[in-house]
């Protein structure tokens, strides 16, 4: 149960990385997806995050950009409404909050939990979805298909029912990710302006100034 909670908290930030998984459009099996993995050196994309809940008058919308450099460097930058940057370098995960015109490291307890799920995420990045935490199935319809990740631990389903990765027509990219917490509450991430295998300055993954 504790592990499930830790994974839930960590997943809050790290599940978003699934956009980086290299996938071939119209992949017919998880094995195909895994086979395609490894061709992607880097990804840059814009994202829009929408939080949907019954209570909300309108969805909560956040916007930002995401950068990934293989094998394990990630920058997840929210530009609005709350400026903050999540950086992962290997096993190290840090969040920086924009305050008084500078970025300050956030030392929230949940950051420790994020490290716990790093192994999980790194497996996803390699196209391996059937991990110790999730069972993965692929659905070919609607085209071009989607991957459904369901927690193996029933306790975790109280926090996350499932994660849906919607494949894009563009090989190597997911169109959107839907994290369903309950019937009435889910987060949708849509990705746009995706650029693959461009050179990314390593400073992007250093602590922001």
């Amino acid at each position: 149960m504790l592990m499930a909670k830790k994974i839930f908290l960590g997943t809050a930030a790290t599940v978003l990385m699934v956009v980086m998984i290299s996938v071939g459009a119209n992949a017919t099996s998880l094995a195909d997806i895994q086979a395609t993995a490894g061709n992607i050196r880097s990804i840059s994309a814009d994202f829009i995050q929408e939080k949907h809940m019954k209570i909300l008058v309108k969805p909560l919308v956040s916007k930002g950009i995401i950068r990934f450099q293989s094998p394990d460097a990630l920058r997840f930058e929210y530009r609005e409404p709350i400026k903050n940057i999540l950086i992962m370098q290997g096993k190290s995960v840090s969040r920086y909050i924009h305050r008084d015109n500078t970025f300050v490291r956030d030392n929230a307890a949940a950051m420790g939990a994020m490290t716990v799920v790093m192994d999980e995420i790194s497996q996803w990045l390699k196209g391996d979805f059937n991990t110790s935490v999730f069972n993965a199935t692929i659905e070919e319809t609607p085209e071009p298909g989607r991957i459904i990740l369901v927690p193996k631990d029933k306790a975790m389903t109280h926090f996350i029912q499932d994660i849906v990765l919607v494949l894009s027509e563009q090989p190597g990219v997911f169109k959107e990710v839907i994290i369903r917490e309950s019937q009435d509450s889910y987060t949708r991430l849509r990705f746009d302006t995706v650029q693959l295998n461009e050179n990314i300055n390593p400073d992007v993954f250093a602590a922001p100034k």
Binding site: K54, I55, L60, P81, D106, N107, A108
Partner: protein
């Protein structure tokens, strides 16, 4: 030597007792000022506490002793007429850590993930939200000015607590201080408006751009809430959904 040490302890003890029993800030009465009637009082308080049902979205920074802090998102639906609250706290990525309803009849927790899974913490959180958004229930005991020229309204609550609401001369900074029956400061809330709160404001609704709540005891923490969105909601179904 022992006597000297004992005197030192006695001095510290007396100092602590003195600090613990700190009195209320003295109020300078206004010259020829009549007692505020209910209408003028509620008019004054309505500038701070909305009377209509609203949904607020805040970026919340929670700071605890030892430099522990966390940035979260908060959504709160308030129904002042019913003194009802529906609140949600989530991570910046949108995953819900805490969701609860509070009405005069019931307190229901819909979801609570650590560290929000303690009943005491949940009740404290909801009571803080009530303090921030709802006007005091108690009666107005005193009013006037403070030494620093801020206007002050002092309420005495049924449980012996005292609530002081102060308003800066330019009306951009409001504070609300809650003290126990022994006058020990328990909660302090600061409301910062980007423009003065006046009855002649053309805008129908003006809300504080930031609210800072400092809890002194039993737990010490600070909530700094920055407003990101505010929407009028229906009052027909307090604590129901809004769609």
């Amino acid at each position: 030597m022992r006597r000297k040490t004992a005197l030192k302890y006695l001095f510290v003890f007396i100092f602590l007792i003195g600090a613990g029993c700190a009195g209320l800030p003295p109020i300078i009465p206004l010259d020829h000022s009549p007692t505020p009637d209910e209408q003028s009082l509620s008019h004054e308080l309505n500038d701070l506490f909305p009377t209509d049902p609203f949904q607020f979205v805040h970026a919340i920074e929670l700071t605890m002793p030892g430099s522990h802090s966390a940035m979260l998102m908060g959504v709160v639906n308030i129904h002042p007429r019913h003194r009802a609250i529906h609140c949600v706290i989530m991570t910046l990525e949108g995953l819900v850590l805490f969701e609860a309803d509070h009405t005069s009849k019931a307190f229901t927790i819909h979801r609570a993930v650590p560290p929000f899974d303690s009943q005491a913490l949940a009740r404290g959180l909801v009571s803080d939200i009530e303090l921030i958004f709802f006007s005091p229930r108690g009666k107005l005991d005193a009013w006037g000015k403070l030494e620093n020229k801020d206007k002050i309204l002092r309420f005495s609550e049924a449980d012996g607590k005292t609530i002081d609401i102060t308003i800066s001369p330019d009306r951009t900074l409001w504070t609300q201080n809650v003290r126990t029956h022994s006058h020990r400061l328990k909660r302090s809330v600061k409301y910062l408006f980007s423009q003065p709160q006046t009855a002649t404001n053309n805008q129908r609704f003006v809300f504080p751009k930031s609210i800072t709540l400092t809890a002194a005891f039993p737990s010490r923490y600070t909530l700094t809430m920055t407003l990101t969105d505010a929407n009028l909601i229906s009052d027909t179904n307090p604590c129901g959904d809004n769609k």
